[in-house]
Amino acid sequence: MITFNGVTKRYADGTVAVDNLSLEVPTGEITVFVGPSGCGKTTSLRMINRMIDATGGQILLDGVDVKTIDPPTLRRGIGYVIQQAGLFPHRKIVDNVATVPYLLGWDKKKARARAMELLERVGLDLKMADRYPFQLSGGQQQRVGVARALAADPPVLLMDEPFSAVDPIVRASLQEELLRLQSELNKTIVFVTHDIDEAVKLGDRVAVLRVGGKLAQLADPATLLTRPADDFVREFLGRDRGIRRLSFVSGDGLRLRTDLTVPASAEVSSLRGTTEPWLVVVDEDNCPLGWIASKDLPESGTPADVELAPYGTFVKGRDSLRAALDATLLSPSGSAIAVDESGRVVGVAVREALDEELALVAGGVGGVDG
C-alpha cells in the first residue's frame, strides 16, 4: 500500500504543484490519477519513487517513509513507465528489458531468460528481442517499456501517461493488455492520465485532481460517474455519464428468454401460429444467423430461404449492460442476443427485460444526482 500523508510539493520558483494531498493506493489495485494538464499528476507520481522529493508531508510505501530509502535502491524496486518509453537506443530490446535485473546483479543468462519471458508476456514477437529500439513502432516500444518495468518483478508499478503517444487503436489494445496482465500479476499500480475514459476503463479507483494539486474526488469509476463530488468533477467527466456508467453494470442480471430461437433448417409452416413478432434463426451449432419477422414468413421452405435482419450480441458472464443495450440498437427486433464465450445463443434479452434492468440501475443510484 502507498500512503500519501499531507504531501506538498512546492517547486523552487514557488509553484505549488501538489497541495496537502492525502490518499491511499491499495495493494494489488490500479489507482488512476486523472485531471487537467498541470494539475500535478506527474509530480505526485514522481514523488513516490523520489524522482522528485516532496517538500512537505510523507509518502509511505508499506509503512516505510520513502525519504528513508536511498533513491536508486528504492527505484529498483518500483517499475516505472513513461510516455516516450525512454528505451536505451544503444541496447538491444532484450537487454533493455533486462536493465534492472542487470543492476541487481543477476547473472546474464538468468536476466535474459527473464527478459524473454516478459517480452512474451506483453505480447511481443520474440524476433524483436535482438532488434534495437529504433527498429520498433511506437506501440511496440511502449510494450517493451512495460516489460522493462516488470522485469525484476517489482510489487509497485508507476505509469505516467504510458499510452498517450500512440494512436487510438494501439492505445486500446495496450489498455486491454494491461488489464489482462494485471489480472495475472496483481501489482499495485499508479497510473497517470489526462484522459477520463482511460481512467474509468483502467482504474479500480480513480483520483480526480484539480489544478493546484488538490484531490477533488477519489472513488471507483461507477461511483465517480454516478455521484461526482462537485461541478469540477462533473464537468471533467463530460457527457454521457449515464450511459458510460452502464459499462460497470454486469449484463448477467438481464432476464433471458430461451423460447425465441428457430433452427435455420426448420419448416416455416411449423412457425405459422407464433405470436412472437421476431425470432432468432440459428445454425446447427446454435450460433445466431439473424432475426426473422414472423409477418414476413414465406408460404413454404425454411428460414434460410429468407433474407434475415441484422442482429447484435453480448457475451453472458462477461459483457456489461452497456454492451447489451448496444446490441439491442443493432437490430430491428429491439432485442439483444445473449451468447456464450464461443458464440452460441444462450437466450434473448427482449426490450422489456432491458427496461426492467435499466430501471433497477437508475433506481439503485438513489439520492440526488446532478
Partner: protein
C-alpha cells in the same frame, strides 16, 4: 607532378635522420602525445560538465579563447621562454589546439542526450555514474568521436609548425624545401601531411564503426 615523383623516388629521402621514415615517426610522436594529453584533459572535463551542467560557461569561453590562439605565435613564444631541446614547446600549442573540439563535442554530446532517456535511466535506479557510463556516453559517442577526429586531423596537419623552430616532423620537408628552393621537397612534404590526415580520417571512421552501437548509428535495416 614530376616534382612529387622526384621526391618520392629519390633514395636519399628514404633513409637517414632526415629521411621520410624518421620524419614520419617524429611527426607521429608529436601528434600522438599531444592528442593523448588533450584527451586526458578534455574528455573527463567534457563528461563532467555535460553530466552535471556545472562550469559549462567556463568551458565554452576557455575553448573559444584557446581556438583564438595563433599556434605558430604561441610556439615561438614558448621556444623563446623555454628554449628548444625537448619536444615540450611543440606539445603545448598542439594540445591547446586539440582540447577545444574534444571538450565542446563531448560536453554538447552528453548535454544533448534526450532528457527522457536520462530520466528513464534514473527512474530504473541507475546511479549518477552508471547513467553517465552506461547510457549517456554510448548515446553521445558519435559526437564525442567526431570531436576526437577533428582534433586529430588538426593536430596532424598543424604539427608541421615544429619545423619552424628547428624540431623534426614532416614539416621539415616543407620548411627546408622553401628555404633552399627545393620545391620537390616542399610539395612532397605537403603530400605526406595530407596523406597522413586522410589516413587518420579513415582510421577514425573504422574505430567509430566498431565502437558505436548500431542502435545509435541506426546502420542496421530491419531484418
Amino acid at each position: 607532378m614530376n616534382w612529387v615523383i622526384d621526391f618520392f623516388t629519390n633514395p636519399d629521402n628514404w633513409s637517414g635522420p632526415d629521411g621520410i621514415p624518421t620524419r614520419l615517426l617524429e611527426h607521429l610522436e608529436f601528434s600522438g602525445i599531444s592528442l593523448l594529453l588533450a584527451m586526458l584533459i578534455a574528455l573527463p572535463l567534457g563528461l563532467w560538465i555535460g553530466h552535471t551542467g556545472k562550469g559549462a560557461l567556463f568551458a565554452i569561453l576557455s575553448a573559444n579563447a584557446a581556438r583564438a590562439l595563433p599556434t605558430l605565435g604561441l610556439l615561438v613564444l614558448i621556444v623563446l621562454l623555454m628554449g628548444v631541446g625537448t619536444i615540450v614547446p611543440v606539445l603545448i600549442p598542439l594540445v591547446a589546439l586539440a582540447v577545444p573540439p574534444i571538450l565542446v563535442n563531448t560536453y554538447e554530446g552528453i548535454r544533448n542526450v534526450d532528457p527522457d532517456l536520462r530520466d528513464a535511466a534514473y527512474g530504473m535506479g541507475l546511479r549518477g555514474g552508471q547513467v553517465l557510463g552506461r547510457v549517456l556516453v554510448p548515446t553521445a559517442l558519435p559526437l564525442i568521436m567526431l570531436g576526437l577526429r577533428v582534433a586529430a586531423i588538426q593536430v596532424v596537419s598543424t604539427a608541421t609548425v615544429a619545423a619552424y623552430v628547428g624540431l623534426g616532423g614532416l614539416g621539415r620537408f616543407i620548411v627546408d624545401g622553401l628555404a633552399t628552393k627545393d620545391f620537390p621537397s616542399t610539395i612532397g612534404g605537403a603530400v605526406l601531411v595530407a596523406l597522413l590526415a586522410l589516413i587518420v580520417q579513415l582510421g577514425f571512421g573504422l574505430v567509430q564503426r566498431f565502437l558505436v552501437s548500431p542502435g545509435v548509428s541506426q546502420r542496421l535495416t530491419i531484418r
